[in-house]
Amino acid sequence: MVERARTSPGRGALRSAVALALLAGGLAACGGGSGTPALNWYINPDNGAQDRLAKACSAASGGRYRIKTSLLPTDASQQREQLVRRLAAKDSGLDLMSLDPVFVAEAANAGFLRPFTGSEAPQFTQGVFPAAVQSSTWKGRLYAAPFWANTQVLWYRKSVVAKAGVDPNAPGFTWDKLIDVAERTGTTVGEQGNKYEGYMVWINALVESAGGHVLTGGENGAKAQITISSPAGQQAARIVQRLAHSKAASPSLATDIEEQARSMLNGPHGGFLLNWGYVWQAENGDAKSGTIPKSVIGDLGWAPYPQVTEGVKARPPFGGIELAVGAYGKHTAEAVDAVRCITTAGNMKKYMLDSGNPAARAAVYDEPDVIKQYPMARLLRDSINVAAPRPITPYYGDVSAAIQSRWHPPTSVDPATTPRRSASFIGLVLRDKALL
């Protein structure tokens, strides 16, 4: 009894503390000066380089605008969720956004983005990688400006391939050869097999490398032609199946994302890793901080994305970030100016050197200081140049999730059934005839 009586003042204090916290949060949200328009730029998390770029462009604008950055979640699908929620509610405080290329079509189709006019567009597309421009375009109009571009390459331990007497850079290096070498040397091939976008990245790259597409006619929305049930889709399924059942696969392949795959490369059985360009900067950072031995850096090699069919050039995954202007913002003219500033070749280079994320303009890769910091700059440039975007459709999220649902876990993939079943399932999902 005594105890119970005593708790009530405590509860009161708690309640007022909560009220105070809520109030403070509300007040903080109301902050922001008058005069210079403040542009809200929703950014995907990086090492702070976007924020520094925002400050630089704010200063360069000479008081025309001030860019404030707000952080989105780490996961690409959750970034989309938050942006869609805000845009569906016509959030006028969303001026600029860092958008994953796969979601540009969806946002553009919903009227969430302000397209660039015919006179604005060329400066955002000239000298920019084709996959980036393709991903930023919807029904013939440019809805986003490519900011940085990304691709995956094959990272490997030089000591492992030297012992095996294999050269991953040799033309005609295929997935089968890769898995053979790893099995022979008792090492692993790191991939992203979790049920998330990263797994779709892998599947799409395999389908595209085999000469097929997941779907065609994406601009027809729900009526697109699903083409994953094809020889190319079966080839892709065969490779996923082979790696998943190989001893070269990670024991937790079904839940591995980029970072888990990378940490495996540094482990005792590390051999190969398929991963994005950030690996170089991340490995250097880890070596500097002592998380991994310094010797790892000297042992780290890189090669083009492995081929599916020997002799046919692979189409590595395409990723990166596009900058889009929100349709409901109050300062669209200033926002377009800000995009112009952020995406100049100079700022892209600055961002690349600062963040480790590769630029979307090919010319940046010829700069001496870029080559100095990124010895694999040429490989990155050539890979992004031939990279294949994921399906461009307003229903991309559904297509990707439907494929993940039928292709996961990787050990369950069967070339005879998985591509066919996933194709019919995508069709059902697009017509709201199945849950996802």
Partner: protein, 313 residues
């Protein structure tokens, strides 16, 4: 007379007793209605409106990101959901999690309640220690459990010699971790409700039974448990409804992979992730109906009287 029997007798006043209401009790009743009116109005606004809106939207084929494609489809979304194996798989998953967690929590919670009730020394420390997990935010406890079992960062595998067993790559192993963390997190809640029930059992009943020569086990089953039946049922009801709507643990640990997706998570993914508003709301309405069904079964079927424990929580 037992608490439950009294509870059962209460809610059915005969018509004659209604006629005998005095002026005073009639005006008291009017005052009561008046006083609760604002709360009812707020409830209507914040629960009834969204509910009706969800019901309405569930009749459409409607994507938030394809607003032009909105079409009225009657109950097609319900047909899609109810005929989809994924829906029933999620129902089964939710059912398993609910049944296992509630059963285990009830047993452990009862043990804890006894400990808290009987603790002779360090009473407050014992109670605090038992209640601690309940004070932790579910998302945080979910992350703690996830990292504990994680292959790269976890300690569970090395402590228990599980080698490189990937817990979250298998359905039942993932379920086990989800259920364990759920039990760890909410057993204190059950024990708190049961403690309230224990406190209600008159001490002299137990003493009388002792005098009659009843063993401790007999006293527990014949005296204590029947006398706190109402508290037990309320605890089971609350926990069942909570467990049935489980979301955070699954979201954090597996994101519904390895067939660990629950009904709430299914609703979330259709509505929020896919922005398939119509289909998602249909699933949401089905989830709501199942919650109503559980509550009705408990309140009508087992005659749970919520007012019995209201003052003790």
């Amino acid at each position: 007379m037992s608490v439950a029997a009294r509870a059962a007798a209460q809610p059915s006043p005969s018509p004659s007793s209604r006629a005998e209401l005095s002026d005073r009790s009639r005006s008291e009743r009017r005052l009561g209605l008046l006083l609760s009116a604002p709360a009812v109005a707020v409830m209507l606004l914040v629960t009834a409106y969204p509910l009706v809106n969800a019901l309405y939207l569930s009749l459409f084929r409607y994507r938030l990101t394809a607003p032009d494609d909105r079409r009225f489809v009657w109950f097609a979304n319900y047909a899609t959901a109810l005929s989809d194996p994924l829906f029933w798989q999620d129902v089964l998953t939710t059912l398993i999690i609910t049944a296992v967690t509630v059963a285990v929590e009830l047993v452990i919670g009862f043990g804890f309640a006894m400990v808290m009730h009987r603790a002779l020394f360090a009473r407050r420390t014992v109670r605090t220690a038992i209640l601690l997990p309940y004070g932790i935010v579910t998302v945080i406890s979910a992350f703690a459990w996830k990292y504990a079992f994680d292959l790269q960062s976890g300690f569970v595998n090395s402590w228990f010699g599980a080698g490189d067993y990937a817990w979250f790559s298998h359905r039942w192993a993932s379920m086990l971790v989800i259920v364990l963390s759920e039990i760890w997190k909410t057993t204190p809640f059950v024990s708190l409700l049961l403690l309230a029930g224990l406190a209600q059992v008159p001490r002299d009943l137990g003493e009388a039974a002792t005098v009659d020569g009843a063993t401790a086990w007999q006293r527990l089953w014949r005296v204590t448990v029947p006398n706190m039946k109402a508290a037990i049922l309320v605890a089971v009801l609350f926990r069942t409804l909570d467990a049935w709507r489980i979301f955070d643990n699954v979201f954090v640990m597996t994101s519904g992979q390895q067939k660990t997706e629950t009904l709430s998570f299914l609703t979330y993914r259709q509505t929020i992730t896919r922005t398939a508003i119509g289909l998602g709301d249909a699933v949401g309405v089905l989830l709501f109906l199942s919650v109503v069904l559980i509550a009705a079964v408990f309140i009508r079927g087992f005659r749970v009287d919520l007012s019995q424990v209201r003052g003790d929580r």
